[in-house]
């Protein structure tokens, strides 16, 4: 089903429930992975993805069709995730450990993470990036989102996104070199 057909189903009150079932079915995985790559923990991602779809359902009337439905949903998901991370960071302000250290320690013991040494070091390097840079890197590297689509979702110019991604990749490369991992190729 195309975005337009789905939008038509969601607009009509009589077909809204069915439309929403289709929407959840089509988008749940992608939304989950986008969130998971940012928060790392499966439990947090599970809670957040549910909250995102409830938000989508509650605000479906405010969607005017100016952008594609997928863009609108990803935007809600990523904003919700960034807000979650920012409030979590606030809670960590007066602790001795940083939120990144805690996330990394939890990741090491996570049964839902295939922890080989290189992947762990890569995650550690990614965690050093600021949230928004990390978001751009994850969307490109893990979710393989085209910069054109990313431009719509993040409402940032394509050139700015490209430079953000390359700058992030360079930083990660430098961190991995410090860990004596010589070669790690990132796609353009």
């Amino acid at each position: 089903m195309t975005d337009t057909e789905l939008f038509e189903l969601l607009k009509e009150t009589s077909t809204r429930e069915r439309g929403f079932s289709v929407l959840v079915h089509d988008f749940k995985e992608r939304v989950y992975w986008q969130i998971r790559h940012m928060v790392l923990s499966h439990e947090d991602a599970d809670d957040l993805v549910q909250e995102v779809f409830i938000k989508v359902f509650q605000n479906i009337d405010s969607f005017k069709g100016d952008s594609t439905l997928s863009t609108w949903i990803y935007r809600i998901a990523l904003n919700h995730t960034l807000n979650f991370l920012s409030s979590k960071r606030q809670r960590y302000r007066f602790r001795f450990t940083s939120i990144e250290d805690t996330m990394f320690e939890n990741l090491k013991s996570d049964s839902n993470f295939d922890s080989d040494e290189i992947e762990l070091k890569l995650q550690k390097a990614i965690l050093l990036l600021p949230d928004k840079q990390r978001l751009v890197f994850n969307l490109r590297y893990y979710d393989e989102m085209p910069f054109k689509e990313m431009e719509q979702v993040l409402e940032t110019s394509e050139s700015a996104l490209k430079s953000t991604y390359h700058f992030a990749a360079k930083k990660i490369q430098a961190e991995l070199l410090k860990e004596e991992i010589i070669k790690f190729d990132f796609p353009d």
Partner: protein, 155 residues
């Protein structure tokens, strides 16, 4: 099940099916946001701004009269003090005349031949000019003190 690009993150096999069910269940229990009509938000903003303006206006009106009453209180207080001052001045000015009159009466009385004992007594307390002035001084201050005490004047 794993994410794209050999992501190290994974979930259990049937996770997404159960997630879908969970989401649909939660959504069915969640009340949907009601949008009355498109202008509602704009109207509410205008109403809020109007209320704010009214509140500010009311506050200003409430503050100004009290300020005026404060200043009028101050004016009336200063008027009272002035009037007291004037009264005190007149009392102080008038009093020597009274005292003078009393002195004359006193002298006249003392000159009257009433009885010898009294005459003797008056003769005995006959005062010099300096003593009289001294007593006048005290009389004046006493009058002033009495006035201030019984009229509750705050200086």
């Amino acid at each position: 099940m794993m994410a794209k690009n050999n992501s190290p993150f994974k979930v259990t096999n049937n996770y997404f099916d159960s997630l879908e069910k969970e989401i649909l269940l939660k959504v069915s229990l969640t009340p949907k946001k009601k949008y009355l009509f498109p202008m509602t938000n704009t109207l509410m903003k205008y109403a809020a701004a109007l209320l704010l303006l009214l509140a500010v206006g009311a506050m200003l009106l409430w503050i100004q009269p009290s300020d005026l009453s404060d200043s009028s209180n101050q004016i009336s207080q200063s008027n009272t003090i002035d009037s007291i001052g004037q009264k005190v001045e007149t009392i102080v000015k008038d009093e020597p005349i009274v005292i003078e009159n009393e002195k004359v009466n006193f002298k006249q009385q003392s000159l009257k031949p009433q009885n010898k004992v009294e005459e003797k007594a008056f003769q005995e307390i006959e005062l010099t000019k300096e003593e009289l002035e001294y007593l006048e001084y005290y009389l004046e201050t006493d009058v002033l003190n009495d006035y201030l005490t019984y009229n509750d004047v705050e200086l």
